[in-house]
C-alpha cells in the first residue's frame, strides 16, 4: 500500500510531461523582473497583434515575474523561459556562464542588448517640503530615506553606486571623504526593504520617509497609480545608467524550436512601436524619434555607467557588494 502514492505520482508525471512536450511554439515564456508586470502586459498585447497580422497564427506570451536573480536561478533549475528581460546584466551573465545564453549575448541585440534604460531618481512628497534637489540634500540630518537593501536588490545597487559616483566627483576623488558621505547617506535610511516594490509600498502606503530612491520608471508609475498631485519627482544632477538587458535563452529556445519567434519578440522591443510602449511606461528609450516625442516626460540628466565609472560589474561586486566589501564596512560602522 505504501508504494501506491509513488506509483500514482509517476503516472501523473508521465501524463503531465506529455502536453508540455507536444506544445509547439504557439507560446513563449518571458521571465522578467518584478516591477515590469504592467509593462509586459502591454508589450505582449501589441506583439501578439503584430504576430497575428503577419502570420495569421496566434501566439500566447506567458509572463513570469520575480526578482531577476530568483528568475535566473529558476531558469538554471529548469524554468523553461524562451526569453529573459531583466534589470541586471549580472543575472543574464549567470545564465551565459552556465551555457543557457550565448556567451556574446550583449552583441546579439543593439545597444548592448538593452532596448531601454532607466536611472535612480528621487520621489518626494507633494511640494517637496524638505527642498530636496540633489544627492547632497540626502545626507542632511532632517532627511529620512527609503530604498531597498543593496544586498538583495538590484534596484538599490544602482542607487548605492549613483550616490557613490556623486560623492567621488564632489570630493574630487578623495576616497575617505566620499566614504564618509556614503556612510551618512546609508545612516539616513529609515527602512531597508528587500525589493523595489516593497520599498514603494513602504514610502507610498505606510508613508515612511521623506525621499524614495528608485528607478525613474517606477516613480512615474507611482504618480500614475496614486495621483500626480501627491508626489514630485526630483532628478539629481548626476545618476547611474541602469541597462535593462534582454536575451534569448538558447538552451530552451533550441529545444522548443522557438528561437526565431523569441528573437523576433525581442527585436520588437527595438521597433518604434515597442519603444513607444516602453516610453509610455516611463522608460528611457534608444530610438531617437521616439525619445524626442517623449522628451517632455524625461528631465535632462548626466548619466555615468558602471563600466566607465567603476570598471564593470565584476569589479563592483568585488569591491562594494562582496562579503566584507565597502558596503558591509559602511553599514557596520553605524
Amino acid at each position: 500500500m505504501r508504494r501506491l502514492p509513488f506509483v500514482t505520482a509517476a503516472v501523473l508525471f508521465a501524463l503531465a510531461a506529455g502536453p508540455a512536450h507536444a506544445e509547439a511554439p504557439g507560446s513563449i515564456l518571458n521571465a522578467s523582473y518584478d516591477v515590469a508586470r504592467e509593462l509586459f502586459v502591454a508589450v505582449n498585447e501589441a506583439y501578439g497583434a503584430k504576430y497575428n497580422k503577419e502570420t495569421g497564427k496566434t501566439l500566447e506570451i506567458k509572463q513570469s515575474h520575480a526578482g531577476s536573480s530568483k528568475q535566473a536561478r529558476s531558469i538554471l533549475e529548469g524554468l523553461e523561459a524562451d526569453v529573459v528581460t531583466f534589470n541586471q546584466a549580472t543575472d543574464i551573465q549567470v545564465l551565459a556562464d552556465k551555457g543557457f545564453v550565448a556567451a556574446d549575448w550583449t552583441a546579439k541585440f543593439p545597444d548592448n542588448a538593452s532596448p531601454f534604460y532607466s536611472l535612480p531618481v528621487f520621489l518626494v512628497r507633494a511640494g517637496n517640503p524638505k527642498g530636496i534637489k540633489d544627492w547632497n540634500d540626502l545626507v542632511r540630518d532632517d532627511v529620512k530615506l527609503v530604498f531597498p537593501n543593496p544586498k538583495t536588490s538590484g534596484n538599490a545597487r544602482y542607487t548605492y553606486l549613483a550616490a557613490t559616483a556623486y560623492a567621488k566627483e564632489a570630493f574630487g576623488g578623495d576616497e575617505a571623504k566620499a566614504n564618509d558621505f556614503v556612510k551618512k547617506f546609508l545612516s539616513n535610511v529609515a527602512v531597508f526593504d528587500t525589493g523595489g516594490r516593497a520599498a514603494t509600498t513602504t514610502f507610498v502606503e505606510r508613508e515612511l520617509g521623506d525621499v524614495l530612491i528608485t528607478f525613474e520608471t517606477e516613480t512615474l508609475g507611482i504618480r500614475k497609480e496614486f495621483g500626480a498631485d501627491k508626489f514630485d519627482i526630483v532628478v539629481p544632477s548626476v545618476s547611474l545608467l541602469a541597462d535593462f538587458p534582454v536575451a534569448v535563452v538558447d538552451k530552451v529556445a533550441d529545444k522548443r524550436g522557438s528561437k526565431e519567434i523569441a528573437t523576433d519578440y525581442l527585436n520588437f522591443l527595438y521597433s518604434p512601436e515597442g519603444q513607444t510602449i516602453l516610453a509610455e511606461f516611463g522608460n528611457r528609450v534608444r530610438d531617437k524619434a521616439v525619445a524626442e516625442k517623449f522628451a517632455a516626460s524625461f528631465q535632462p540628466v548626466r548619466l555615468v555607467t558602471v563600466e566607465e565609472e567603476f570598471g564593470g560589474w565584476p569589479a563592483v561586486n568585488k569591491k562594494y557588494f562582496g562579503s566584507d566589501g565597502l558596503l558591509d564596512q559602511q553599514l557596520a560602522g553605524q
Partner: protein, 282 residues
C-alpha cells in the same frame, strides 16, 4: 474541568473576567479583525469589481490549478495516511518508530525548505536533473512539481488524525473479523473503515484546506507563470503587488470562504464523531 477543582483565587469572578476578556480581545485583534478585513477590502470597490476580478482568466486559471492540485493530492495523502496509520497502529515491526517520525516530519520542516530540497533533487542542476532533462520529463516549474511539493507538506494530516484513533481502538475488532473468516480487504472495508470514518473525514477536510492554502513550498517550485503555474495563494500575492488590492482580497476571500467552510464541516464532524464515540462507549 469544573471551577470547584481550581484553587480559590483562580476561580474568583475578577480574575476570571480578566482572563476571559483578554482572550477575547486577543482573538478579536489577532484573528477576527484580519478575517473581517479580507471581506471589507474585497468589497471595497463593490461586489461587481470583486466578481469581475475573480472572472479574470488568470484568476480563474489559478483557482482551477488549486482545485486540480487538491483533487490529486488529497486522494494520494488519504491513501497514504490510511496506509501509514494502519501499519503504525496495528503492527509491530522494526523501524516503526522511525516511520512514525518520518510521517510527521513535514509538520516540523519549513515549507520553503521542502520546496528548495525538491529543487535540489528534481531541478535542472539537481540530482535527477540531467536524467529528467534527457527524457524530457518536466517536474519542476510545472504541475508535477507543485503536486509533489504540496503532497510533501500535507502528507501527515490524515495519518495524524487516524493514528490515535486506530491505536485507541486496538486490534480486537479486526481479530474477531478474522476469526469469523473475513479476509484482509473485507476486514478493512467492513470493520476498520467504519470505525475510523469520522476521523478520516476530519483529516481529509484539514488536508484539503492546507493543500489549497499552501504557499511557501509551492512558491519555490512554481516558476510564477501567470495563468499557468500560479496557484490561488500565489496569485493573491501577485495581485497585491500589482497595486490591485481589491482583486487580491477578492481572491483571498475565496480562500477564506474555503477556510470557514472547513471550520464548519470540522465542527459538524466533531459533533457527529463525538456522538458516534459516545454510542460506541455504551
Amino acid at each position: 474541568m469544573s471551577a470547584a477543582g481550581l484553587p480559590r483565587g483562580a476561580s474568583s469572578g475578577w480574575s476570571r473576567h480578566v482572563l476571559l476578556g483578554s482572550v477575547l480581545l486577543v482573538t478579536a485583534i489577532v484573528i477576527g479583525a484580519p478575517v473581517l478585513a479580507v471581506f471589507v477590502q474585497a468589497l471595497s470597490q463593490g461586489l461587481g469589481y470583486a466578481l469581475a476580478s475573480l472572472a479574470h482568466p488568470d484568476t480563474r486559471a489559478a483557482i482551477l490549478l488549486s482545485v486540480t492540485v487538491a483533487l490529486v493530492v488529497v486522494p494520494i495523502n488519504t491513501l497514504f495516511g490510511i496506509a501509514a496509520a494502519w501499519s503504525i497502529a496495528k503492527f509491530r515491526f522494526p523501524g516503526r518508530k522511525l516511520l512514525l517520525a518520518i510521517v510527521e516530519l513535514p509538520f516540523s520542516v519549513s515549507p520553503i525548505v521542502a520546496g528548495i530540497s525538491y529543487l535540489f533533487v528534481y531541478g535542472g542542476q539537481g540530482l535527477f536533473g540531467p536524467f529528467l532533462e534527457a527524457h524530457d520529463l518536466k517536474i519542476m516549474f510545472a504541475l508535477p512539481g507543485i503536486i509533489l511539493a504540496t503532497t510533501f507538506v500535507t502528507a501527515p494530516f490524515v495519518a495524524r488524525e487516524l493514528l490515535p484513533l486506530m491505536q485507541l481502538q486496538g486490534n480486537s475488532d479486526e481479530e474477531v473479523a478474522a476469526t469469523l473468516g473475513a479476509n484482509g480487504w473485507q476486514t478493512f472495508f467492513r470493520v476498520t473503515l467504519p470505525n475510523i470514518r469520522w476521523g478520516l473525514l476530519y483529516g481529509v477536510v484539514l488536508c484539503n484546506a492546507r493543500v489549497l492554502g499552501e504557499f511557501g513550498a509551492v512558491s519555490i517550485v512554481s516558476g510564477n507563470i501567470r495563468g499557468e503555474t500560479n496557484t490561488l495563494p500565489l496569485h493573491v500575492e501577485l495581485l497585491y503587488h500589482d497595486y490591485n488590492a481589491a482583486g487580491a482580497f477578492a481572491a483571498a476571500a475565496v480562500l477564506t470562504v474555503v477556510a470557514l467552510v472547513t471550520l464548519l464541516v470540522k465542527t459538524l464532524l466533531e459533533r457527529v464523531s463525538g456522538q458516534a464515540g459516545a454510542r460506541r462507549g455504551h
